[in-house]
Every structure is written in C-alpha cells, then in structure tokens.
C-alpha cells in the first residue's frame, strides 16, 4: 500500500505553526482568566468597600439598598442607610476605582511612549498644572458651585490640560514630537508652575492648608457628581489608548523602528498623549494628586503578564481600580481616632517600599 506523506520539512513547519498557535491560544486563555479573576475581585471589593466604614451597616441592608436602586427589588425603607450606602460609600468606592483605573492606564501609556518604565502619569507635568489651577482658584477665592460641583475640579482640569498643551507646544521640533524634548518640556513646565504655586502659597497664607490638602489627594466628600464629571474623560481616554494598543507596542521600540514599521509616529503619539492626559487630568481633577498607583501598578502587571500593551492596558486598569479601592478603604479606617488619612499618603507609604521590592526582585531586572 502506498502511503502519501509530506516531506519531513513540511511536517516540521506544520508542527511549528501548530505549536505557535496553541501557545498564543494558551496566552489568550490566561489573559481571559486573569481578567475574569480581577473582575470578580473588583465586584467583591466594591461590595466590601461599601460595607466597611465608621457607621456599621449589615450586608443584608447593602444588598437591599443596591437591589432597590437597581430596580430589582422594592426601594429600601431606611433613608439614612440608603444615603450612607448609596450616596456616600458606593459612590466613593466607584470613584476611587475609576480614578485608580485611569491613573494605572495613563501610567502604562506614559511608560510605553517615553520608553521608560519609571515614567508615571505625572511625568510631563499634568499634575502640577492641575495643582496650579486649584491654587489659583483658592487664592482668588472663587467659590460657589457650577452645575452642583465646586469649581476646584474645573480649575484642576483646565490647569492639567493647559500644562499638557504647553508641554506639547514646547516639545514640537519642526512638526515632530520627540520623547526627549517631551520630558525636558515637562520638567520646564512643572518647575515653572511649582514656583508659581509656591508664590501663591507664600502670598496668601490662608489658602495654604486648602492647597496642601488638595495636592495630597483624597476622596473625602466626593460623590456621584464627581463620578459623572470624570466619566467622559475616562471613557475618551480609555477608548483612545485601547484603540492604539498595538501601536503602543511598536512605539515602545523607539521612534525610528516605529516609522519603518508603518506607524505614523507623530499622529499616533499625539493621540496617545491626549488620551493619557485626559485620563490623568480627569482623575486629578476629582481626587487631587495621588502618586505611585500610576507607577507601580503598570510595572507590577508588566512583570507578571509581559509587556504586550493589548493585555497590559486592561489588566493594569483592573489592578489599578482594585488597588485604589483598598487604598481608600485603608485611608478611611486606618486611624483609630476616626479621622481620615489623605489616600495619596496611603498609596505613597505602601507604594514606595513595594516599588523598591519590585526593583530589586529578579524578574523585573530584565526590564532595566
């Protein structure tokens, strides 16, 4: 009987392709599992974060209030508990999750774009711009409310976007944005604005504590209106970055290789900068400057899941949300006196040593 067989080389190649394909499928399955696990963890954290606080509330009450609000059961009867659970706690947990996700995503983008695993959402001066906007409003004594919102978030947003615009304009060289000039322009702009903030602080001592408190970052007293304020910026930022995840991979190789691989570098880089700045500006506007999440989370996820941005973006967003929710819970309950810590202090105290550990650990060394 005659057996038709492929030449050995052909078999080798078919096997090789099959192997590569199954490896990629396994990778996709791992990614899906990780997303699922993080998503579940996030759901649990939202409920736990809502339950933990100074005023004890039963889990049954939480369930009743949530189901009532979602229209799945009869509305809850106790107005006080409803306000605490829905209006104060849940909104705050959702906001902290959203801010954490935004900062972590922005961190991923800045690290990839600047080809520097030590970059964070504040590297190019977005946070200093926001702080300057707030300091200016505090000094001018602008009060009242705008669509039910204090004017400070608006000032922060305008300041952050203004600083980003200035950095982009300053770093343009003959129509191109280079990453070296981007960092330099960021340093120039943020140093200049820092000096102006110091000037405001020394001219107007009354505003000092308000500015300092705002700069440290906190979710104290934030509610659904802030979620609504952040949401469009976060959505636009996520959309822009997720859309260009593949280009982000290539841009992380450098400007010349990206050009040769057919990425229109300036255009894509501008869009990614815009997206990550919207994320950062929105987050800073509602919560002040919260450090380390945007630096440590992308870094940690990259060590665990590899540098491919299609996955890095989603995993970092979920991890960032988780981290920030728990950091804020800690900020609420850590002090026995019942006083709140600024959440920025919590993330810095936890994030600093953890980042040091990451730097020293064997697995991340290859990145440097």
């Amino acid at each position: 009987m005659k057996v038709t067989s492929l030449p050995a080389v052909e078999i080798d190649r078919t096997l090789e392709l099959a192997e590569a394909r199954s490896r990629r499928q396994a990778g996709r399955r791992r990614f899906a599992a990780a997303c699922l696990a993080l998503g579940l963890g996030l759901a649990v954290s939202v409920i736990l974060g809502t339950g933990i606080g100074r005023m004890p509330v039963g889990w049954g009450t939480i369930a009743a209030v949530l189901l009532g609000k979602l229209g799945l059961a009869a509305p809850a009867v106790d107005r006080t508990q409803e306000v605490v659970i829905w209006g104060i706690r849940l909104s705050r947990v959702v906001l902290s999750g959203l801010v954490g996700a935004s900062l972590a995503t922005a961190g991923v983008v800045f690290q990839g774009l600047l080809m520097n695993p030590l970059a964070d959402p504040f590297t190019i001066g977005v946070s200093t711009g926001a702080a300057f906007g707030v300091a200016l409003l505090v000094m001018l004594g602008v009060g009242g409310s705008f669509l039910g919102l204090s004017p400070l978030p608006l000032g922060a947003l305008v300041g952050a976007l203004g600083a980003m615009g200035a950095v982009l304009v300053l770093s343009r060289e003959s129509g191109r944005i280079r990453k070296e000039s981007l960092i330099l322009a960021g340093i120039v702009v943020s140093t200049f604005l820092s000096a102006l903030i110091s000037l405001i602080k020394s001219l107007d001592e009354e505003s000092l504590s308000a500015i300092v408190f705002w700069i440290m970052g906190s979710f104290s007293g934030r509610g659904w209106i802030h979620v609504g304020f952040l949401l469009p910026y976060a959505a636009a930022g996520f959309a822009l970055t997720a859309w260009h995840a593949r280009e982000l991979d290539i841009l992380a190789l450098g400007e010349e290789p990206s050009h040769h691989l057919g990425v229109s570098v300036s255009r894509v880089r501008f869009r990614l900068l815009l997206g990550s700045s919207l994320l950062t500006a929105g987050a800073v506007a509602v919560s002040g400057v919260i450090g380390f999440v945007g630096l440590v989370v992308p870094h940690l996820v990259r060590v665990l899941a590899g540098p491919s941005h299609g996955r890095l973006l989603w995993l970092s967003a979920l991890t960032g949300a988780l981290t920030m929710i728990w950091a804020d819970v800690l900020a609420r309950v850590l002090l026995a006196s019942g006083q709140e810590l600024p959440v920025g202090v919590v993330t810095a105290i936890l994030g600093g040593p953890f980042f040091f550990y990451l730097l020293k650990s064997r697995r991340s060394r290859g990145i440097w």
Binding site: G112, P117, R246, L253, H260, L261, P307, G366, I367
Partner: protein
C-alpha cells in the same frame, strides 16, 4: 523602483549631500560605500522617509515618497537600522510579529498568515530557537538577526540595511547575506545596504555607489568600480584589488600607509618650577 532627482539632504543649515540623481531598479543588490560621515546613513534615512529632503524629490514606484501613507510605505520598504535597543521584555516572536503591522487591518489581530510569515522569517535568519526568549536577554548579534527577521516579516519589495551586519561575526554575516542574495535572486527583493566592509560588499553587491564629499563619487557595476584607483581615491588609502581564483569576485587588500601619520612628540614638562 526608486528615482531620486536633485536631492539635497542635511540637518538644519548643514547640507550633507548635494544634488544627488540616481535610480534604483527592481531586483538590484546595491551597496552604498564611503568614508565615515560621508552621508550613507543620511541617504538611507531620506530614502526611508525618516528625513525630509531639503531639496529635490524621491519617487518610489510612481509615487512621491512623502505622499505614501505610512502603512503602504512599510509594505514596500523595510529598514534594518545600525543598532536596536529594546527596553521592554517582548519575546522575540512578538518582536518579529510586529513586522506584520503594516499588513494588518483594524486592531491588529494576528492571523495564521502572520504567524507563518514570522516563523518563516525567523527560520531564514536562524533565530527560531529564540522565539520565546525576551529580546532584552539575548546578545547584540542575536538581537540584530531578530530585527532582520522582523524586516523580512514585512514582506517588503525593498530592504534597506544600514550597517546592519557590522556587529555580527563572519559566519552570521555571510548567512544573512546568503539569505538576502537568495531572496534577491528568487523573489526579486531589492536590497540597498550601507556598509563599511568592502569585501563583503564585493562579494554580494552587484552595484556599488561610492559617496564622498557630499556627492556620489562613483556608481556602477561592482566589477567595474571596485578598482584600486577608485577605492584609493574614495578612502584616501592605498588599496590593492585582486580577483579570487575560485569564486571569481574581487577583494581588496589594505596596503600600509606610505607616509605614516606621526604625532609630533612634545616634550612633557614634569613637575613645576
């Protein structure tokens, strides 16, 4: 394939190359030679669209180079730069798959065709064993071969190499050039390489272009321009050219400089007065 007319290239006020005119036809294997700083890399930068000309035009096919959309340009021409530094630990297969970017649509889902091309390119550059290794943990020579594999994965019509094999050992250099020659002969891949290694150029390039003092000093078939007179003039160094008896290609031998450049010895003053 490429048509260059009156091309002026430079950085800021400084012109590096002036008034270049030449054509490169499909299927050529062209070596660009010249002393350090003569503008070989500058020329390749301009031909790959990285550096905008200060005067003159570059046409690729029927179109002006700068009018080509980025992805389309990357489907036509691939570039292997002098050095590559990657900071993030992508696996080598991921790096090579990035070469498929110009041929992917939408969000860039990797298809079987992309995988086939990536694996084939890695086989051609003998980098298959590096597939799952992070690019940050392999040697410079291996990295360079992975980058060449990425360029081949673009499935380009033209390949530019800018001193791409300088960091490789003799064996790897020859292996890469054998692959290029093979693609050049069987698939009509047009190859342009800027290089320093005269004998490597003589072995594989069928046409040589010598760049010197801001212009093209000589340009022609290797057999005709690879002469002691031209080499000596371009490199300001006496050279001898011989033909190898078995493979019938010319090779150059350096001759020690007739009047060696001696540094004037200055008496060292030791101690103070």
């Amino acid at each position: 394939m490429i048509r260059v007319r009156g091309l002026d290239l430079g950085y800021g006020d400084r012109l590096v190359l002036r008034g270049l005119d030449f054509r490169v036809h499909r299927g050529e294997f062209l070596g660009i030679l010249g002393p350090n700083g003569s503008g070989k890399s500058t020329l390749l930068h301009a031909l790959s669209g990285l550096l905008a000309p200060q005067g003159g035009t570059i046409e690729v096919g029927e179109q002006r180079l700068e009018a080509l959309p980025s992805r389309l340009r990357a489907q036509i021409l691939a570039v292997v730069p002098q050095t590559t530094e990657v900071r993030f630990p992508f696996t080598c297969l991921e790096i090579v798959l990035m070469g498929r970017y110009p041929r992917q649509r939408g969000l860039g889902t990797v298809t079987d065709e992309d995988l086939v091309w990536a694996l084939r390119s890695m086989r051609r550059t003998t980098t298959t064993h590096l597939k799952e290794r992070p690019i940050t943990e392999i040697s410079g020579g291996e990295c360079q071969r992975v980058v060449i594999a990425r360029a081949l994965a673009q499935d380009p019509e033209m390949l530019f190499l800018d001193e791409a094999t300088s960091s490789l050992d003799v064996r790897k250099k020859l292996e890469i050039f054998e692959v290029l020659q093979n693609l050049n002969e069987t698939r009509g891949l047009t190859v342009l390489c800027a290089m320093h290694d005269l004998n490597l150029a003589a072995l594989y390039c069928r046409r040589l272009m010598f760049v010197k003092d801001g212009r093209i000093a000589h340009d022609g078939p290797t057999d005709r321009v690879f002469t002691p007179e031209i080499l000596g003039e371009v490199y300001e160094t006496p050279m001898e050219v011989q033909w190898h008896p078995s493979h019938h290609r010319p090779f150059a031998v350096m001759v020690p400089l007739a009047a060696p450049v001696r540094e004037e010895e200055e008496p060292l003053e030791v101690g103070g007065k």
